[in-house]
Every structure is written in C-alpha cells, then in structure tokens.
Point group: C2
Chain length 438, copies 2
C-alpha cells in the first residue's frame, strides 16, 4: 500500500480524555475513531490489525474442531424470556422495538440463539460433540464505557458454544478450548495466564479467565512462576486425544486474580516461584451444564433412548479488546510494537527523498520485492520530512522499517530497523529484503 | 472438512413459506436459519459462501483503489439530524434509545458516518481522491421482509463512498466503481447488466443499478444484446487512466429496467438486438455531489485556497443478497450449482461404503491430496446410503464430486462428476485429482 493513497490519519497528540496508553496510541496511530460513547469506527490501519487477530482466533478454533457460524446481531426477546435472562440482564442489554412493536435486542452474547439453533437440528448423542462459534459484533450498554476499545459498548467477540451428551464429554470440550486459547495468545506474542474464575451458582472447577500480563493491566494476578513461563501447548497436540493431563499440568499450579486470590496458598509457595503482575482479562471459558438447555428444552436422545438436556459450555474472546491489550503489553515511548501475527503491514519502506529518481527506484524495487514475497508492505512515498516519517513508522509499530535515502543509495545500501529491538543495520538492499522475508 | 464432524443440517423439504427457489434451497441445504422475520443465522455452509463472496467484493474494491474501513452498526441520531435525513427515513430505520435515553439507530446505510469521518481528518484537495468502503451488517426494518436473505432486514452490505475535489474527479471515481462492479459479478459467474437508475432530485446521468439475469428475477430488464454479451473489463485495465471510453462503451447501448424503460428507444433497435429478461438488482452506484457534504460541512480547500464541500458518490453491493441471487441464476431441479468463486468447498469426496478399509483408504488419500492442493474439500464420511449422499452433494452444489465405491476401488478407479454439466467419468484417482486441481 502506498501511503500517499492510503488513509492513515495519525495525530500528533492524543485527545485528553484518552486515559490509557492503548487508547492514546490507537487514536494517534489513526486506528480508530470514536463515533459515540463506547462505539468506534475502525480506520484502515486498525481494521487490518482487527482482521489479523480475528483470523488467528479463527484458525485456532478450527484447529480445535470448532465450526464457524454467524448469528445475527439482532435477537428476539422471546428466546431470552425462555431462558429466564430477559429481565435479569438489566440495563446493559440494548432493548429495541421494531416497527411492529416486537421486542428485539442487540445481542450481548448468544447462548439463547445458539441453543435454539442446536435444538432445531440436533436430536441424538450420535451427532455430538459439537462446538459452534461465531465472530460477531455484540453490544453491551455499559454505564461507563471507557478506555477506548478495551471497554467499549459495541465490540467484536468470538463466542464458542460446546454441546455434549454428558459431563465427561463437556470436560473434553472444555479442555480443547482451554488449550486452544493458550495457542491464540501465544501466536499473538502474549503471555497469558489462565486463572480460576468464579463458576457462579453451578459450582465446579470448569471456569477460567485468561489474563495477559501488561504493566498497565486492570487486575492484579498472582501466579506460580513456572506457569507463567510455561510455553503454549502448540498446534500439534492430539486434539482428539486425552487432553486432561496437559490441562492438569497448567491448572495444578497456583494462579488467581485479586477476586479469587488465596493469599495463604500463594504464600505457601517458595518465594522465588511467587509472581505478581498486572493483567488484562482477554478470555473467559465456562462450563454451565444445562443452564440453558434445560429451560429451553434442547434435548438429545442418549444410547439408552432417553432424552436429556444437552451439556453446554461457552468460550469467549474479546477480539476488539485484544487489539488494545496487545498494545498495552507491547509499546514504548515512541509508539506501538506489533507482534508479527497482528501487524497491519509486515514492513514499511521509508522513502527519505520522494521525487529523487534514484531513491524512488530503489524504493519501488523494495516495495515490489516485499509485495511479491507476501510481506504486504506499506510504502511511505509521501513528500514529507524524514523526521516525520521516522516518527510515524515508530508510532504505527510495523515490525520492519526499510529506510532508503540518497546517501545510502549512492553507496548501494539501505538501512534496516527492527521496531521491537531498535536495532539498525546498514546493508545492501538484497540483504535487507532477506532479513525481512526470513 | 469431514462431514461426520461438520454441521450441515440439510432438510428433505423446504418450509412451505419459502416462496422463491433460492430461499427454499438455502433452507434445504442448511445454509441459513431464520431467527426472526428477515433476520437469519448463517450456518457453516452458508457462512462459507458469504465469506467467499465478501472476499471477491473486497479484492475488486482494493484493486480499484478503495480503502477498507469498518463503521459500527450503531450510529448516533445526531448525525442524521445534521444531514436532514433523520425524519425523512421513516419506519425503515430501526431507532433505539440507550440506557441514558440517547437517540441511536442501527445503520441502514452510512453516508452520514463516513462524511463525519472524512471531515474530521481530510481538509485539502491534495489528499483526494479517496474512496472508503466497508462491509458491515445493516438493518432496514422492511414492512414485509420476504424471500429469505434476498430481502431481509439485517443484511450484509458493501458500501463505498468516494470523495473528490470536483465533479470531473467524482466522475472518475464513479467510473472506477462502475467497472469494478462488473468485475465482481463476472468473477461470481453472473451476467450483470448496468441499467440507468433514477438519479433522484440531483439529476444527472451518474446513477446505475446492476441487474443480474435470472429467470426468477423480480424486475424486467430490457437491453441491447451486445451489452449483455459484452465481457467484464477484467482486472488489468489501467485504474488510474481514463476509464471514460470503457464506461461509455457500456452505457451507450440501451439498458433499462421496467421503472426507467423507454419503449420507443428499445423498439428502435434492430429486432435481433432486443433482449428482455428477468433481473435481480445486486448493486447500485450513485453520484450525489454535495448532498451530505454541504449540510454537514465536509469542506476541502482547493488549489485556490477556497473551501468547498467535497463531491461524493456512494456504491453499494448487497453481499448477503448476492448469495441468493447466485442461486436464482444457477440451480437445477436437484439443487444449487455454485460457481467456483462462491463454492463453499472446492470438491466433495463421497465415500459410498464408509467402514470398508479399502474404500476408506482411497477416500483418505483423495481428501489429503485435495487438501494439500488448496481445494478445501468436504469429505462425506458418514455411514449413510449412497443415494442420500448423491442427493446431498447435488443439493449443496459443490463443483466437483469425487465418488469412491467398493467396485471402483477394486478396479483401481473412481467416478468424477461435474455438478454444473452433470458429466461423469470413471478414471483412476490421479486423473480425477488432476481434473479437479486443474
């Protein structure tokens, strides 16, 4: 993409009401624009990042055997009356009357809709397990939307729902999601810690939140250091096999956020294993049994011929929230530092003297080579000061900066800067391209 | 994808209230499920098609220089009061009050939002032209939603908005979209005819609808046969060059739908050039000048230092509607016939005796080979009658059926069926794979 033709309205200063660094940087980098309280338009750069993250989430869901569907944003109130949640949900639900005075709502979540879909088609244990997910815009009418897309009202969520014949099956489905979530965060360059979450009135041990560690996090996380340092399971585990031991290895070590913290258990660990850090919640997985299937009569016939309510769990990732969370975890004084998997462009070519035939030619050559290699480069071909270009490139956080100026071109070299490390090297163009394309 | 693990709830019969063939087939093929009047959930097969079409539209927009953003579904009423449309829009607009009693709405279109985005950042003619598009769910509260996703209330639309310094620039932007639209439809295997549309109170000649030809279409189309037979311009035209002659070649020949039909002009054409057919509207492009930029004060400074309202056009494609339109244009008595670019899977492997070791082995080999070749195959590995498998494969309309049965396996052959032509050939597996992968 040529920046002269793009739409990347960077700002010198963030508006004063942007309180946290991710919000400030997203506004300054021209990633989003606030349209109303807690409602954002995604400008081109922000949308690219959002789509990258969405795709990582999608791939890891698919790998773990979940199947993508797409539920509408607008739902019927009737379904929520069936589950009993219509009145309970309160003011956070955006309630709507259509022209025929029918009660609708903008879905804050989709347990009711997916349970309705399930019961319409699936009748037998033979068709289980199933895990249906969707990545769709949700709306929660927060009293105090704030922190940009971190706590917006209209937000993009991946929500998956598992259906099993019995609790043992449900636990397997839960384990698959538990490990798939760790892979999502690892691919996005994040350190994620699964902490026990309040299971609510159902009880049991199958409820976890995933906290990513960032100094600016909203919660305090207490965890065994080995758990934090443990790598993600990776894509090659046997998703059909027994994942219990792998999950147990990660849930037996202490980890809790402030809400569920057990100071005595934490203090009992060796001092060098005790780790406290700030965290941001970026996922929640939850087994809730027959909470919706019983009242909504989503029944499956078992091998014994008897009908019982299907066992369900739900699994949420805040996709738009992850954009902000990554920035909280990965930035410096000059701007954002994108991990490769979330970067809006793989590299940026900086033309330090646009209009100079020799410099233009090298830039065009670099741009074409990077495009051909699938790097999806940005090309800063604007007629602007080098200082402004350096600042913009650092601000928007593209992993590689390939800097082309007249002096270097005369000497047959370019400068290559790694945004994360700050390392610079002056090398021939071929070497720079090779470093970028790996 | 193994069908035994997938979620493709095909139905033997369509519900009686499905009046048109695309609605019937989408329900029977398990592509969508109605959640409320005019509101649909997209089941896995339907979502795959929707995403394929969305991606074709995206690629052609990008090629023509438009830049993708994403506007929220929920908009502020205030912007619509600024443009003067809030009261005019009537009952089709889904109006919403949030918990603070602020007036919101579910966007039926986005001229106001995009104009507001534009005026916030762009101030000079030097930053023009710009064309910003988004692919987002819209809501129009139709009095009588019907025909499935063909006329739903919640629907997926690609809407692009061009911004130019003057009318000559706006015409260039219009021409780019005019030709890009033809490329979209051609890639989707559709015959599309651009017909003049009512330009409304602004007048002028820059308003076209795109009708795709299908016997079941809602409108009558009258056109010069040469226009209908004229191929799309293709991707390799010079998008920065003068597209006027290419557009003129296509707008000088007569074409109109019933609303704008001029019988005298039509009758004046040679009889063998007069063509009438049924058509479905699948796109609308429209130059509207300063209709929004003037009241909303979206001004740009010209080379003369004077501020004038920016010249705008809008360009819509009904992405979810296209799913149905393609089916209307491409089906037979047995089901859907997907063009390759919209097909949910590239091929389906039919195992006619699941559980037979030799047949299973050939199927697995075929499935692996097609997967490796990027064909994204479906594998019907269910324990079911061959007749049921043939019927399902025809119904869901995947372009190639690779049929593996015990008799063929014993003889070292498989059967390959082309869904569109019905042609079958009995060949060794390698030859079948080669035919599919091209």
């Amino acid at each position: 993409m040529r920046l002269s033709r793009y739409f990347m309205p960077t700002l010198r200063e963030a508006p004063a009401d942007a309180q946290i660094v991710s919000h400030q940087l997203m506004l300054r980098a021209g990633m989003v624009r606030q349209e109303a309280a807690g409602i954002y338009a995604w400008l081109p750069l922000g949308l690219r990042v959002l789509k990258k993250i969405e795709q990582v989430v999608r791939e890891e869901m698919d790998r773990a055997g979940a199947i993508e569907i797409l539920m509408p944003t607008i739902q019927l109130a009737d379904l929520w009356k069936e589950s009993g949640r219509y009145d309970d949900y309160g003011d956070e639900m955006l309630r709507i009357l259509d022209r025929g005075q029918r009660e609708l709502l903008f879905g804050p979540t989709a347990e009711e809709v997916v349970t309705d879909i399930f019961r319409s088609y699936v009748k037998s244990y033979k068709d289980l397990p199933k895990n249906l997910y969707n990545i769709q815009w949700k709306f929660r009418d927060e009293r105090r939307p704030r922190f940009g897309v971190m706590r917006g009202r209209e937000f993009l969520m991946k929500d998956a729902y598992s259906f099993d014949a019995d609790e043992a099956g449900a636990r397997k489905s839960y384990n698959r999601m538990f490990l798939a979530y760790l892979n999502v965060y690892a691919r996005l360059g994040l350190k994620a810690v699964p902490v026990k979450a309040d299971p609510g009135p159902i009880g049991g041990d199958l409820s976890h939140e995933f906290m990513i560690l960032a100094d600016t996090g909203e919660s305090q996380v207490f965890a065994h250091r080995d758990l934090v340092e443990m790598g993600a399971p990776g894509p090659d585990i046997d998703w059909d096999g027994d994942l219990g031991p792998e999950v147990a290895r990660r849930t037996s070590l202490y980890a809790a956020s402030d809400e569920m913290h057990d100071a005595a258990r934490f203090e009992a660990m060796p001092e060098d294993k005790r780790m406290t850090a700030r965290g941001i919640e970026v996922g929640h997985i939850f087994y809730f049994g027959t909470k919706y299937s019983a009242p909504m009569k989503a029944l499956v016939t078992g091998p014994d011929g008897k009908d019982t309510p299907v066992q369900m769990g739900s699994y949420g990732v805040g996709v738009s929230r992850l954009v902000a969370a990554i920035i909280e975890a990965s930035h410096d004084a000059n701007g954002i530092i994108w991990p490769a998997a979330a970067a809006p462009f793989g590299a940026v070519v900086l033309n330090l003297r646009a209009g100079d035939a020799a410099v233009d030619a090298v830039c065009e050559q670099a741009y074409a080579a990077l495009t051909a290699a699938g790097i999806d480069p940005l090309y800063d071909d604007r007629d602007d000061r080098p200082g402004a270009k350096f600042a913009a490139a650092d601000l928007v956080g593209i992993p590689w900066q390939l800097i082309v100026g007249p002096k270097g071109v005369a000497e047959g070299v370019v400068e290559l800067k790694n945004r994360a490390t700050g390392e610079r090297q002056t090398v021939p163009l071929d070497a720079a391209l090779k470093a970028i394309t790996g």
